[in-house]
Amino acid sequence: MACPYLRYRASDEEHEFDHERPYCAAMGRFVSPMRADVCNDRHDFSHETHCDVYRRAEERTAEAADAADAVGESVD
């Protein structure tokens, strides 16, 4: 299972490519070929275990949900 923050994009504000490339929506930038293996859970990698960016993004999401719960809002 690929990381939910993995996207494939051909451009951002700095780069434009002929082909779509792996892009981390949590970091807001393209990722290297080696990191893309983690994003895609290739070989024995797991994004949940091996990617600090994913974990921090999930923590932020959880904190936002907790804060919303505290004021009775939904973050759906």
Partner: protein
């Protein structure tokens, strides 16, 4: 090999590592990834004096893909005259994937053989056990493929001695000494000299140094009678703050340095003779 070989006029083998498995075009847009793009770069480097090309395969997204090695090799053979193809068997994939580097048709004349793991990022450690090293070494010998022995740090030089002791290598042994930040041997001139002094007999060596260490330490390697590898895989910059315009630009500089130091450049055929291919 050593300073005496420099004085004796041993010719210099230049390897170009055009692509690698670490960086993408977002790091340097001039890094070639697709087969035809790589082959065009290799042709330019061959014309400047590169005798060996170290090859990685990438998929259409720029991600590592060993199954693309065949297409890259075919494109290089179409475009180039005589350059020696050296496929990678490195990287972070399992042995079943990495062994693709020695199963292209025809097989490459050379292939890299990583002699141990190294770290990348926070959680990536490439897996190179003695079992996989031996399997690759044996198959390379069976297929007549010359291994380039990748020594990422000092301790891995012991693996060269082990492979020799266990009869898995044929001389001359071609040892690639790798220097650079974080994962590799600490990039200092004294460490280059120390590693060279610890090589087994009947060795030829190559110096690979990453980033800003590429020029000074490969220059030292030239003076010590060794050979050199340059290219965007190892160094994305021409100098401080300026991205390299091409692999050819890096090869051209190395050839100029060698010329000033009095080392003649080996043709691919002369490289075959030096390496016993």
């Amino acid at each position: 090999m050593g300073y005496g070989d420099y004085l004796d006029g041993e010719k210099l083998i230049v390897t170009v590592a055009t692509t690698g498995g670490v960086h993408g075009k977002d790091a340097n847009p001039n890094l070639p990834e697709q087969p035809e793009e790589i082959a065009a770069d290799v042709r330019a480097c061959e014309e400047l004096g590169a005798a060996i090309v170290h090859v990685h395969g990438r998929d259409e997204h720029g991600e590592n893909d060993a199954s693309r090695l065949q297409q890259v090799d075919d494109a290089i053979r179409d475009r180039c005259d005589d350059i020696i193809i050296q496929n990678t068997t490195g990287g972070q994939g399992p042995l079943e994937e990495r062994i693709e580097g020695i199963r292209t048709d025809p097989p490459p004349e050379m292939a890299s053989l990583d002699l141990g793991p190294f770290k990348r990022d926070r959680h990536i450690i490439t897996e190179h056990t003695r079992r996989s090293i031996d399997a690759l070494a044996l198959e390379m010998r069976d297929r007549g493929i010359k291994p380039e022995l990748e020594v990422f740090n000092g301790g891995q030089l012991n693996e060269v001695f082990r492979l020799i002791d266990e009869g898995l290598l044929d001389p001359p042994y071609y040892v690639n000494l790798i220097f650079g930040g974080r994962a590799f041997t600490i990039p200092r001139p004294r460490n280059v000299i120390n590693m060279v002094e610890n090589l087994p007999a009947e060795s030829a060596f190559n110096v690979l140094a990453t980033g800003p260490h590429q020029v000074p330490l490969t220059t030292l390697g030239i003076l010590l009678g060794g050979h050199v590898r340059v290219g965007l895989e190892d160094n994305l910059y021409y100098d401080d703050g300026r991205l390299a315009a091409s692999n050819a630009e890096l090869v051209e500089r190395t050839v100029e340095i060698a010329d000033r130091l009095g080392r003649e450049i080996a043709t691919p055929q002369e490289a075959r003779t030096i390496l016993g291919i």
